[in-house]
Structure formats: C-alpha cells, structure tokens
C-alpha cells in the first residue's frame, strides 16, 4: 500500500477535530479509513441480507489483497466469502449468472485493470440483459475494486476505467472519494437492483476521513446519481471524482490563498451523472474545469464539457472550459515521469488561473 501522506493527514484531521468549537457532527466524529468504511458497508449488507456474498481473488483466507474484506471470511464463512482462482472472465460470469438467479454478488477485482479480462460479462452479460429480456431478468451485481493509478506499478496496473464503464447504458458507475462516500455508496450499490461498477482507489484506502455518527450508523445509505459539493465557492467550478477530488481540494486550498474560491463538485457517480449540480454551479461561477486521473480523450471531463456545450449552461461560461486529466500516455514507471502523467494540485491551480484569467490562448502556447 503506497500511502505516504496518511499520517500527516490523520494528524491534521485529529487537530482540527480537537480545536473545533463547531457542533457539526462531522468534525466531532472519529476518522475512519476508506478501507474500513468499505469493509463496514459490506459487513452490514451481508448481515442485513443473506443473498449478499463476496467472491474474488484472495477475498477470504488472505483477508483481501488490499484488506477491504478483512475479517469477513471468519465471520461469514466459506459459503458467503469465496476465494476464486485467478480467472476473471470465469468468476465474473459466475457472479452475473448468480445475479440472474436473484442472488446479490459482490464481485471483487483485485484491481480493475484485471476487469478487462472480464469486460464481456460486465457489458454484454450484466449491463444489457435487463433490457434484452424486457425487464424479465434483473442483474443485481456489484463489481468493485481499486481503479486508477496506484504508485510505481507502471502502465498495465495504472488506469482509470470511469470513462470505459461510464460509456455503457445499463450500468451504474460510482467513484467514491471519502469514507462517507465509500460506505454510503457501496451500501446503495449492493441494494440496487441494477449492475453497479464501483471504482475505488488504492491510494485512498488508507486515508482517514471524519465520519459522522449518522454515516457510521448501519442505515446510512447515499443516493446514487447525486454529486456532493465538497467546498462551495463563487469563482470557478471544479468537477472531479474519486482520487482527483483530493487533488482538486488541495488546489482549492491554494487558490483560496490567492483570492480564488473554487466550488469543488465531487461527482460520486459517473453514471448517472448529476449534471444539474454542475449546471447550477456554473451558473454561479461562470467558469469550469474538470479534474480526472484518466486519459483525456472521450473521458469524464470530455463528457462534462460536451454536456455543457449542448445545453444553455454554455451561455453561462465566461471562458472556455478546461479539462485537467491524466496525460495521454501509458503510465511510465520512473518516478519523475509518473508524476508528470497524473494531474497534480499545481496543474489544477494553473488551469483554474488560466481559465479565470481568460488566458487560454496564451496558456495553450
């Protein structure tokens, strides 16, 4: 696990919560890592519904390749927490077949990179069957696992599938950022009767976020398809999801020091996409950038920009919208190159400054 910043952030959050006089539950409550929030979500849903089970590589006796399923095999046993061989297309197909028959499988991909082996079952078997059967066969399956770039694992293990799966009707595609997102959205995904692709992030797994008492309660579920305004602001709208939210929030902090207030929208859900929240924000800020870790072409930012272009929101813009995305290259291994392939806070700061200053032409040269 490649998390270096967590102790720092943890300390910061702990200090914040001690020093706060606010009665806000969020600040008063305890930090929980994304990993533990996911674990809690699965545990609670398995407790609640005996049709829910987990299958995937190393989910049981190994306690999860990234420990998301830690302790679940001990608690629920072989029947409901199932180690599979390394055969993604096979076990993804089995998961979808079990969902056809009315069970609620949680199919873990050790990382979403390996879901490419199984993408036929996600797209052709899971996403389309409800429609093809005219509603006769619902497919309540969740495909989950870490998505996107980790650290130092090079091209085949570092890519974002938000745009890939977001492309396909019939799927719901979620990308949580915080612990609250992780828990509330995963529970919603498990309860949902449609196939859900749930894109986590390895680097966020170890990151603690404050969770309110409400979010810690077993009945806490977030609505699918609703974005969250992580930080309100008047000058520019910054739309992001998953790990890119962290980047966007760092940039927003920095920009705030320069007198630029960002409205940071954490999408939470790639499909359906909460465009209303984006449109309302742009109507206020008149500026827009998107931040994502995936490649630019046909990406999440591209979709947002297209929707702006096609709607009256276009007229709200005072400057062209910009995408901040992963560079259009396969992920390199070398540290310095890798750093340049992913959006950093400084990139978001620069992009926001360029869009707000209406200096697009100069910046592009």
């Amino acid at each position: 696990m490649a998390l270096k910043s967590s102790p720092v952030l943890f300390g910061l959050l702990a200090r914040l919560s001690r020093r706060s006089f606010s009665t806000s539950k969020a600040l008063a409550s305890k930090p929980v890592t994304v990993r533990d929030a996911l674990n809690q979500a699965i545990d609670e849903e398995m407790e609640r519904d005996d049709k829910v089970f987990v299958l995937g590589e190393e989910v049981a006796q190994y306690d999860g390749a990234y420990k998301v399923t830690r302790g679940l095999w001990k608690k629920y046993g072989d029947k409901r927490v199932i180690d599979t061989p390394i055969t993604e297309i096979g076990f993804a197909g089995i998961a979808v077949g079990a969902a056809f028959a009315g069970l609620r499988p949680i199919c873990e991909f050790m990382t979403f990179n390996f879901s490419m082996q199984a993408i036929d079952h996600i797209i052709n078997s899971a996403a389309k069957t409800f429609y093809m059967s005219a509603g006769a066969v619902p497919v309540p399956v969740v495909f989950r696992g870490p998505n996107g770039a980790a650290a130092g694992v090079a091209a085949q293990h570092s890519q974002c599938f938000g745009a890939w799966y977001g492309h396909c009707p019939g799927l719901k595609v979620l990308m949580p950022y915080s612990s609250e997102d992780a828990k509330g959205l995963l529970k919603a995904a498990i309860r949902d009767n449609d196939p859900v692709v749930f894109l986590e992030d390895e680097i966020l797994y170890g990151m603690p976020f404050p969770m309110s008492d409400e979010a810690l309660a077993p009945d806490f579920v977030l609505p699918i398809g609703k974005a969250k305004i992580e930080r309100p602001g008047n000058h520019i709208t910054v739309v992001c999801a998953g790990k890119a939210t962290d980047t966007a929030l760092q940039a927003a902090n920095e920009l705030s020091g320069k007198g630029i207030e960002c409205e940071v929208i954490n999408l939470r859900s790639i499909r359906p996409m909460d465009f209303d929240t984006i449109a309302q924000s742009v109507a206020k800020t008149h500026h827009l950038i998107t931040v994502e870790q995936g490649w630019p072409q046909s990406g999440i930012g591209a979709e947002i920009c297209a929707r702006v272009m096609e709607s009256p929101t276009f007229f709200e813009l005072d400057a062209p919208a910009w995408r901040v995305s992963g560079a259009d290259v396969p992920m390199p291994y070398a540290r310095a190159l890798e750093a340049l392939a992913l959006p950093r806070a400084a990139d978001v700061v620069a992009a926001a400054a360029a869009v707000i200053g209406n200096k697009i032409a100069e910046a592009a040269n």
Partner: protein, 399 residues
C-alpha cells in the same frame, strides 16, 4: 392402463411443457395405440471417469411417445416457420435454426424438473418454447413484435422464460453464467440443477475451462452440455478442436457421450445427470452428438464446408424425428393416424402463431428507453440529439 398412470403422472407433474404445448389431445389418444409401453435399447454411451453411466435401455409409455413426438414436431415446425419468415424479410438480422438437433432439447426437457434451470447460446427458439414460452411468444420475438417474449427488444438470440436465462449472443459466455446459476441453486439449497448448453465451437473458448474449474472446485450442480453438431460456423470439429471427444474435455469432470439424435438417449442421460448432480458429486459434462441441417445462420447456405450428400445422408439415416417415429410405430406404441393428427395439430398451431407474429405491431416508440434499468436514476435518457431526449419507462411491473 394401470402401468400407464405413474409415468404419465411423472410427465405431467415434472414439466410445464404440457401447459405450453396447446391443446393436443394426447390423453384420449392412448386408446388408439396397441401397446401401453415398450422398451428401447440405447446406443452405448461413452463414459469419461465414470464407473456407471445412464440406463442402456428405457421404457416409453404410449403417452410419453406421443408427447415426445409432439415436441419434436413442434420444434421442427417452429424452425420451418422461422426460416420462411426470414426469407420473407420479416425476421431481421441473425437467425439460427435448430433443425436436426431437436432430440437434444426435447429429451433433456422431458427429464428436467420444475426447479432446474437452463441457459444456452443463440440457437434458442426451441428451448424457449420447451421452457414454457408460447409459440406466439417465440415467433413474435423473432419478428420483433410486442407479443414477443422480450417485447421485440431482444430478437432471435435473446429469448427468456421462467428458469430460462437465454438466448445468449456471445459464444461461450453462457457457460460461466450457467455455472453462476448452478451456484445459486447450491447457495439456496433448492436442489436444482443447471444445464449450460454450448456448441462444439464454443467448446474451445477459454472461459469454459474457467467455469469447469470453479464448478468442480465448488461442486456446483451444473451439467455442461456440449451440443456437437459437427461445425462451429463453417469450421468442422476436426479443424477446430485438438480433441473432439468433448465429453472428456472437462478433464477432472466426469463426462458422457450421448447419441444426440435419439430423444430416448438424451432423456435417459439427463435423468442420470440430474441424479448425479443432486447427489452432491458436482458437475458433469455431456456431449450430445447431433447435426444441424441448416447453415450456421440463415445467411449461410451451409454448403461450402460440407457436401449436400452429407446433409442428405443424415436426414435419411439419423433424423431425430423420423427415427423416433419409426421406433414408436414399429413397436406399436402409436399408430400412424395418431402421429398424423399431431402433425396436423402442430402445423395448425404454428401457422396460427406465425400469423399473429406477422400481424402484431411493434412496441410503441416510448419503449426505446423502457426497462434499461430496474430503477432508473437518470432524469432523461439521451436520444440521438440533445433536442430529442427520451424518458425511461418501467414497462414491466417492479416487485
């Protein structure tokens, strides 16, 4: 007559095909036949890692014989109608006919119980009907009309019914899906068995071996049924498979080779398979050797990779309907008149259903965005341009 009752009761209670079949007066026909039951020898099975196989002979009552004959005739007739509808350009796209392979589905279905489930590939018209979908439901799905079992939205490769999960268009994908259905039987403990059917072409797909492996590891009640019709599209088994002993290709999974042209053999083998899987021994592979008369799909004349003589020879010597007919007639289980009566009735029913499948309208355009999601959370579904948004509609009642 007393001997007749138990087997007739089994047939009636064990399947829903009786209900779906329409009003064929088989019960009253028994009096025409001269014998109430007869025993038939079955071409020897080949066994892989099994000490004992299915019964080498089987007893058929006159009731059984008539019922099986009626199903065989119905399936053949459905495909004749489908071929004609395709030639009339009323069926669009792909259309894969099952003619020649009927004994596989009919025999298996006769042995299956209510709790068992089936998944197959795209050669699925006959199976869909056997699993309880009406003739109109099948034929008007092929013509894309609102009375189709998938409301015309699935087409010929995507038919569904109770415990019948398609109708799958991706070669081989139905096999892990079938293992998943079997997983659900085991998880629920409902005693059901899944039959996952695939062709000799799909038998070489990697995902089959992944499914075999997990099914055996977890002892899933899954029967992997390879319908070996000799050709994956235009590639003969010998050109596609390093080993064409498909019944042995589960390696560590026991297997049986079955004469898939003999409906009695397929029924007995399926009975054996159900007993095997329900006794907790895990999966089984069954190879049903059969033949398809038509090309791979309607666009394939089926003559460039095999000879017309070959097809003719199978028709004349191994046809599943003709051979069964000869058997039950020569054993005096049924009379020619009874069979003629069934033929007439089947033809009439299929013709009527065909007429409906041509005259019914397609579903309304509002269903373009119908039932994409069980619960849609999209305020609008995008149409072809931003100016023409669609609204998601819930056509089928949600539970």
């Amino acid at each position: 007559m007393s001997k007749l009752i138990p087997s007739a009761a089994k047939l009636l209670s064990g399947t829903s095909i009786t209900k779906a079949a329409g009003p064929v007066a088989t019960t009253s026909n028994a009096k025409y036949s001269t014998k109430s039951e007869s025993t038939f020898e079955i071409k020897p099975y080949k066994l892989h890692k099994l000490d004992k196989g299915p019964a080498q002979s089987a007893t058929l009552t006159a009731e059984d014989a008539l019922k099986l004959y009626e199903k065989l005739a119905t399936l053949r007739r459905i495909e004749t109608a489908s071929g004609n509808l395709y030639k009339e350009k009323i069926i669009r796209g792909f259309c894969h006919l099952y003619s020649g392979q009927e004994a596989v589905a009919v025999g298996m279905r006769a042995a299956m119980r209510e709790v068992d489930s089936v998944i197959t590939a795209y050669r699925c018209h006959g199976w869909t009907h056997l699993m309880g979908v009406s003739l109109v439901g099948v034929l008007s799905e092929l013509t894309g009309r609102r009375t189709g079992c998938s409301r015309g939205k699935g087409g010929s490769m995507h038919l569904y019914g109770r415990n019948f999960y398609g109708g799958n268009g991706i070669v081989g994908a139905q096999v892990p899906l079938g293992a998943g259905l079997a997983f659900a039987h085991k998880y629920r403990g409902d005693g059901g068995v899944t039959f996952a059917l695939y062709g000799d072409g799909a038998a070489n797909q990697g995902q089959l071996f992944e499914a075999y492996n997990m099914a055996k590891l977890w002892d899933l009640p899954c029967v992997f049924v390879c319908e070996n019709n000799g050709y994956g599209m235009g590639t003969s088994v010998d050109r596609a498979s390093a080993s064409s002993d498909y019944y042995s290709r589960g390696d560590y999974i026991p297997g049986i080779w079955v004469d898939g042209m003999d409906v009695i053999a397929t029924r007995e083998a399926t009975r054996f398979a159900i007993d095997y899987c329900t006794s907790g021994k895990g999966p089984l592979v069954m190879e049903m050797e059969t033949y398809r008369y038509s090309g791979h799909s309607m666009s394939d004349p089926g003559t460039s990779y095999r000879t017309r003589d070959e097809v003719q020879e199978v028709r004349q010597t191994r046809d599943p309907i003709t051979s069964f007919k000869e058997k039950i007639l020569s054993n005096e289980l049924v009379t020619p008149d009874q069979l003629k009566e069934i033929d007439t009735q089947v033809r009439k029913e299929v013709d009527e259903a065909t007429k409906v499948s041509k005259s019914e309208p397609e579903v309304g355009v509002e269903e373009l965005a119908g039932d994409i999601y069980y619960s849609s959370l999209e305020p609008q579904i995008r149409g072809v341009t931003p100016a023409a948004p669609l609204r998601h509609v819930e056509v089928v009642a949600r539970k």
